[in-house]
Amino acid sequence: MRFLLKPLTVIAGIALAVCCFVAAGAAQSPAYTGPRTADHKPDLNGIWQAMNTANWDLLPHTAQGGPVVSLGAQGAEPGGLGVVEGGSIPYLPEALKTKAENYKKRFTDDPEIKCYMPGVPRAVYEPFPFQIVQSAKVVMVSYEFAAASRTIFLGTAPTVEESWMGTSAGHWEGDALVVEVTKLIDRTWFDRAGDFHSDALHVTERYTPINHDVMQYEATMTDPKVFSRPWKISMPLYRHLEPNARLMEFRCAEFIEELLYGKFRKKSGS
């Protein structure tokens, strides 16, 4: 009996571990079997894009008309079921008021309007593609919107001041690329609905390849100045498969000159 107990305990332990490992695995996704790089990591090189309406509103929303009458259907907002796990963002009471104010002023105050770099995670689900160039030490990400970019350092990121796209330190957890994003300035929004954060925002991103053409994207936002607890968004990202796929330019600084500097234009006859 005494001799039997131990092996049984061990076997039970293994059984438990197997059961739960399998269960945890099943709850996420099957193991990645797609192409790998020469250093045996999932090959994320290529052009990706989200296919949802998170950039309009992270939360569930119905379609609605836009602010420019002459643009009609072109300027309207598509509906969507949201990307926030649990369906709500845990704003602190004061922050919830700010969000409501932001929503009222969204057609003038969203930094996206001025072609400002969208920050993280918004750059990922702007309705524009982005391109990954993956080496063993660095993952370079080029976003079409506003020609924004990020260098994800695999390992330690250098210490620099806060910036629009933040500082990204990544590491591989199995086949998932996990990125800790810090030093984000407080001037970006999460969406066109006025969802916002402070300079205390810390984003943990997880890029989990499902197959060569799809990866699951998760971002957990921690910001004790604005939210009562961390909250998470998740969405699939899809690879562009067109043989001639490439990022085009969306250097929107050239499209906002009249908006920002039109008031300084020389009036004819003056």
Partner: protein, 327 residues
């Protein structure tokens, strides 16, 4: 290496900073290709990755007083020229209204490592060939617009509009500051991250053709391939609007990146634009390994200066008008 914050007439970047190539104190080696360094990526390609800086006292065109001299004969001669050239660039700075103070500039303190006296080596006089009459007329008109009081943002260079800056548009040549690059390679792509203005050129190596000729992009369409240990990048579909010595939208640039030694890349470029230049011309410069980090250059986000320039122009209009009425 140090971090700095900048202000420039048109581009005041929120978080602009730079790593500085000068003052690093490492003695440049002889320009010979003797110190062969051949690092490889995990894919077996020549490894050009890292942070590179191109600030230098060597100009694009050979100075008139160096006519007939393609190279400095010795390290000593190059070092002596560096002192003269650097002092000249410092004393030539406009430190008044409408300019940085000289603390902000990074023109570099050293010649290119090949000891050339100019980037241009073909034609042999080291000067940009004559423009065609049409291109010359366009260039003159553009200079005239730059000199006059701006009517609107489009009268200022694309750099001041935070749209495209020479440091990144091929051929990539150093600017007054922040001439820093990060090269990242995967099997079929090379990314060149350019500090000015947080741009990334992603160059496909998969043999695809160029874009249709009616598509024009600020940074053009670049496709690349390896020739031995040299990365060759072919760029067409450029805008012709970034003020590159009078080049127009027919500009075709071929760039060649190779290793000169362990901490230097040789960057060669061919400029072919038959509607703008009367000859094809070629140049080369060297890219020196730099420690980084490269900090985000948020140009548009921090562009208070363009409003300042245009606001100043309208204030001048007003003052003129008042003076006219007062007479």
């Amino acid at each position: 290496m140090q971090l700095r914050t900048f202000s420039f007439p048109a581009i005041i970047a929120m978080t602009a900073a730079a790593l500085v190539a000068f003052g690093q104190g490492s003695a440049p080696s002889a320009p010979a290709k003797s110190k062969v360094s051949d690092p490889r990526t995990p894919d077996g390609r020549p490894d050009l990755q890292g942070i590179w800086n191109t600030s230098t006292v060597t100009p694009m065109e050979r100075p008139r007083d160096l006519a007939g001299k393609e190279f400095f004969a010795s390290e000593e001669e190059a070092r002596a020229y560096e002192k003269v050239a650097y002092n000249k660039s410092e004393s030539g700075l406009n430190n008044g209204i409408g300019s940085y103070g000289d603390l902000y500039y990074e023109f570099g303190t050293k010649t290119v490592k090949t000891r050339r006296t100019s980037f241009i080596f073909d034609p042999p006089d080291g000067r940009v060939p004559a423009l065609t009459p049409t291109a010359q007329a366009a260039w003159d008109k553009e200079q005239e617009i730059r000199r006059r009081r701006p009517n609107g943002p489009e009268d200022r260079p694309t750099s001041e509009q935070c749209v495209a800056i020479r440091t990144g548009v091929p051929p990539m040549t150093p600017w007054a500051y922040n001439s820093n690059y990060r090269i990242v390679q995967s099997k079929n792509q090379v990314a060149i991250y350019i500090e000015m203005i947080h741009d990334v050129r992603v160059i496909p190596l998969d043999g695809r053709p160029h874009l249709p000729s009616n598509i024009h992009l600020w940074y053009g369409d670049s496709i690349g391939h390896w020739e031995g240990n040299t990365l060759v990048v072919d760029t067409t579909n450029l805008s012709g609007k970034t003020g590159f010595y009078g080049a127009d939208e027919n500009l075709h640039v071929i760039e060649r990146f190779s290793r000169l030694d362990g901490d230097t890349l040789l960057y060669q470029f061919t400029v072919d634009d038959p509607s703008a230049f009367t000859k094809v011309w070629k140049g080369e410069l060297t890219m020196s390994a730099a420690p980084g980090p490269i900090v985000e250059y948020a140009c548009n986000e921090g562009n208070y200066a363009l409003a300042g320039i245009l606001g100043g122009a309208r204030a001048d209009d007003k003052a003129e008008e008042a003076a006219r009425k007062g007479k």
